[in-house]
């Protein structure tokens, strides 16, 4: 327990030293701010591109604050996931292949402790990046478009965060037994697969973690009362994350030595 904390502190020091603690939140802040700003200035942008047909400009209706906010969150399910997965892909495989894990695991640290420290480090990055990203999206949306109930935004961001955490946990799992690029590819593939399945057959997949982004968007456009409480996607996400961490611990224990 204590040693898991020490390894976590080392993880956080590494994220700070390698500037991950800065550039990942910056990417999320930019992604979050971009959506309300672009939406607000869309008429000007279209006008500046002077060969745009007249009808489009006149038909432009400024979307509501809730829609803009959910579009901003939508950025995180594409570019956001990509950034997170690329950061997480090396977390276990890098240390397995170069041998630094062998040295740490020769100390009183269990593979599970090692994996949990890694997971907690990734969770911290996600928490910071998403928190700051959503704050900047909210700030510009309120300034430029309209106000939103804060509690709804927090709940919507949390739902999105759980979905992103699923993608991170999958990457960690694959990183425990594959090389980094394969781990990134497989986790992107499986998250995209889940999302696709959910969009094709929503009624079948509404209990899976892949339903979380949609739930988050509805929460923003329709409000908390209209959406009601839907726990099953959160529950299945928690199970998926637990499975990934447990699986990664087992696989890490078997594959900790460099070849």
């Amino acid at each position: 327990m204590r040693n898991t904390w020490i390894v976590y502190q080392k993880e956080m020091l590494e994220t700070a030293r390698t500037y991950k603690l800065i550039w990942i939140p910056v990417v999320f802040i930019l992604l979050g701010a971009m959506q309300p700003i672009i939406t607000y200035y869309m008429p000007e942008i279209l006008q500046a591109a002077n060969n745009v047909p007249q009808g489009i400009l006149e038909g432009y209706v400024m979307p509501g604050a809730g829609t803009v906010m959910s579009q901003a969150l939508g950025q995180y399910s594409t570019i956001g996931i990509l950034v997170l997965v690329l950061v997480a892909m090396n977390s276990l495989s890098g240390e397995r292949y170069n041998g630094s894990a062998e040295l740490v695991l020769s100390k009183p640290v269990s593979p599970a402790g090692f994996v949990i420290a890694k997971w907690a480090g990734l969770f911290t990055i996600l928490f910071l990046a998403l928190g700051l990203g959503v704050a900047s999206a909210l700030y510009y949306t309120e300034q430029l478009i309209g106000s939103l109930p804060w509690m709804d935004v927090v709940a919507a961001a949390a739902l999105y965060g759980i979905w992103l955490l699923c993608a991170l946990s999958l990457t960690l799992l694959f990183s425990a037994f594959l090389r980094a690029p394969a781990a990134a590819f497989l986790s992107l593939l499986s998250s995209a697969g889940m999302a696709l399945a959910d969009s094709l057959m929503p009624s079948w997949f509404q209990w899976t973690p892949a339903a979380l982004p949609g739930l988050s968007a509805r929460l923003l456009s329709e409000g908390r009362e209209a959406v009601g409480v839907n726990l099953s996607p959160c529950l299945s996400a928690a199970l998926l994350i637990l499975f990934c961490v447990a699986g990664a611990s087992t696989l890490m224990g078997r594959n900790k030595l460099p070849k």
């Binding site: 080392k10 020091l13 041998g99 630094s100 062998e102 040295l103 695991l105 020769s106 100390k107 460099p258």
Partner: protein
């Protein structure tokens, strides 16, 4: 007799059908220094990793005796892998503090002990520099510092000098000689000379098995057998004569390599007399004749080569 610190019995490790370590048994006494000696692929790394608890054995047992508080035997263990990898973004000091904390020390104690350990291995000046900028020799010494910092009762070092240049090698050997006064050391090497320089016991491994083990002094006298080396000119008659000598009753073992022959004999005096007399009588063109005794090196070369 004191109870041994480490007791390994019938230790095996197989990967699929390939047997890396084929059932070995040995004991390591408290305070001793033992060299695990063997050519590449002998199973040294596999053995050390099993002792360090990094690799589950396929069969057999490893007993670590002693009064260790809190349960985890790894607290009492220092381990240095064959090519240690650190975090390049850390400084040497930070890494050793990290290792000391993992071994159970609080921050303050860890910092003090880390400083002392780094000074000890000669990295005081470089302690605050990033590990990414360290040379191979410095990394090896940092590896020693992180293995030593918590004063382990058993130090496992996997080929600590094999990758170093002569100067780095000298430094690390010097350190090992000091450290052996304080704790029990098991280190692996493929060079007999390294083992003789620091240790008093060796375990010779070959193909996953122990070919020979014991105190160096005992093994030296055991393998100090009378030996006669003969070299002739390269001609068929002489080579044939060497072969006939090899079949004589006083020859225990003959190793013939063309015009070069090494004979282990039981009675040096008689053998020398007979061989020289025959050589003179048959007019054999001798180039070299040497009577002496075999060394540990000969034994080791035989194990490694055969």
């Amino acid at each position: 007799m004191m109870q041994p610190l480490l007791q390994v019995s019938n230790l095996r490790k197989s990967y699929g059908r390939h047997l890396s370590v084929g059932g070995i048994s040995f004991e390591i006494a408290q305070g001793s220094c033992v060299a695990l000696l063997g050519p590449n692929g002998a199973g040294k790394t596999t053995t050390l990793r099993m002792i360090a608890g990094l690799l589950p054995p396929s069969a057999g047992s490893i007993g670590f005796t002693g009064s260790y508080q809190g349960g985890d035997f790894r607290r009492e263990l220092g381990y240095l892998p064959q090519s240690p990898a650190f975090y390049g973004w850390m400084s040497g000091q930070e890494y050793v503090v990290f290792a000391a904390k993992l071994a159970g020390m609080n921050r303050k104690e860890a910092e003090g002990k880390a400083k002392a350990a780094l000074e000890r291995v000669g990295l005081k000046a470089a302690a605050r520099r990033r590990i990414a900028g360290y040379s191979g020799g410095m990394k090896q010494r940092l590896g020693l510092a992180q293995a030593l910092v918590h004063r382990p009762r058993l130090l496992l070092l996997d080929e600590p000098v094999s990758a170093l240049d002569p100067i780095g090698r000298r430094e690390v050997m010097e350190l090992l000689r000091e450290i052996r006064e304080e704790t029990t050391i098991v280190f692996s090497t493929h060079v007999l000379h390294d083992a003789e320089e620091v240790c008093d016991e060796i375990i010779v491994m070959k193909d996953g098995l122990i070919a020979e083990q014991g105190a160096l002094s005992v093994l030296r006298s055991k393998y100090s057998q009378p030996v006669i080396t003969v070299r002739t000119e390269k001609n068929a008659e002489a080579i044939q004569w060497l072969n006939s000598v090899g079949a004589k009753p006083f020859i225990l073992e003959a190793r013939l390599n063309g015009e070069h022959a090494v004979f282990n004999v039981d009675n040096l005096k008689q053998a020398r007399h007979t061989i020289l007399k025959e050589a003179a009588a048959s007019n054999i063109p001798l180039l070299q004749f040497e009577a002496g005794s075999s060394t540990l090196e000969d034994m080791f070369m035989k194990v490694v080569g055969g």
